[in-house]
């Protein structure tokens, strides 16, 4: 056998050349490696090992490293060490961050955002709020969406009322003068009652602002989760994520155990209490 282990090749060029090899298509579904007892990497086809090598390898690679990707261990020892170091760094970052936020991010804990105010004054003149807006945002699976920059709330909406309104909106999409039902069901705004009473028609009312608007005339935006978001949510956790969670849990348990430990004094020895 030729001593080629000390020579390095460009890893990406090597992987490209392997994929372009005429026999690669025949070999791609053959056994690449089997699972080792001590390691988590499952059985892989030849093409899958090549794909993983492309993700994990460094810029240059020698023959020993290539063969180690095909061992049951699945990776060179140096790569395993690097992965472990990066995992440890991630755990340190996770432990040093706010535990509430972390718990929310990892376990999907529901945070109650109710009774918070929006960032705008209802009345621009007096800078007062007409009422406290009840925020609630729940995804269909009952989890709060914590992705940054995404709207978290919706207004408190009566579902029955919403159905009724959408129905009337559809039925009166293009109302005509002779459509009596539309004229009868047309809601009165709050501004009628507040300003001039029922006798004054609404078009003479000059009041303007959020607090004078009738609740029934408001248009609500119902936030819906993006498709890519739900896709990420249903994705299986990676080995690294699972390991990190397990490690964090183990560290937390150890801390709890240490905190709850009760020190108990030993009984006084007989040599102290007894007579000399």
């Amino acid at each position: 056998m030729k001593p080629i282990s000390k020579a390095y090749v460009d890893a990406l060029e090597f992987i490209d050349a392997v994929r372009k090899h005429p026999q690669f298509q025949n070999l791609r579904r053959t056994v690449g490696r089997r699972k080792a007892r001590k390691f988590e990497l499952e059985d892989e086809f030849f093409a899958e090992v090549i794909d993983r090598m492309e993700q994990e390898t460094e810029h240059y690679i020698d023959w020993d490293d290539i063969s180690e990707f095909f061992t049951r261990r699945g990776r060179p020892r140096t790569t395993i060490q690097q992965l472990q170091q990066s995992e440890k760094a991630m755990i340190d970052v996770a432990l040093s961050s706010d535990p509430e936020d972390k718990a929310a991010q990892t376990t999907g804990k529901t945070i109650n955002y109710n009774y918070q105010r929006d960032g705008y004054d209802s009345d621009p003149e007096f800078h007062t709020y007409s009422k406290e807006v009840e925020y609630e945002f729940k995804l269909p699976r009952g989890q709060v969406d914590l992705s940054p920059g995404k709207t978290r709330w919706k207004y408190d909406i009566d579902e029955e009322q919403l159905k009724h309104r959408t129905y009337t909106a559809e039925s009166s999409a293009e109302p005509t003068r002779h459509d009596r039902s539309y004229q009868i069901e047309r809601p009165e705004t709050v501004s009628h009652k507040l300003s001039r009473g029922r006798s004054v028609p609404h078009y003479l009312d000059k009041r303007f602002g959020a607090i004078y608007k009738d609740k029934n005339t408001l248009h609500y935006t119902l936030p819906e989760p993006f498709e890519f978001d739900s896709r990420d949510r249903s994705k299986k956790k990676s080995i690294r994520e699972r390991r990190i969670e397990e490690d964090i849990r183990a560290i937390r348990e150890e801390e709890e155990k240490m905190l709850k430990h009760t020190f108990r004094a030993k009984s006084v020895p007989a040599s102290t209490t007894g007579r000399l």
Partner: protein, 42 residues
């Protein structure tokens, strides 16, 4: 003892190893010194 040896086992076909070896030998080689210098520069 068997568990220790397990992780270094190679199970792929001899044809696959031949393909890898052929491709490796056909690639332009870099010496260890040049590789480490380039890594340092990066």
């Amino acid at each position: 003892m068997e568990q220790e040896d397990d992780q270094d086992n190679i199970d792929f076909l001899p044809e696959a190893e031949k393909v890898l070896r052929d491709v490796f030998e056909s690639q332009p080689k870099h010496s260890e010194g040049i590789v480490s210098c380039e890594i340092l520069l990066i």
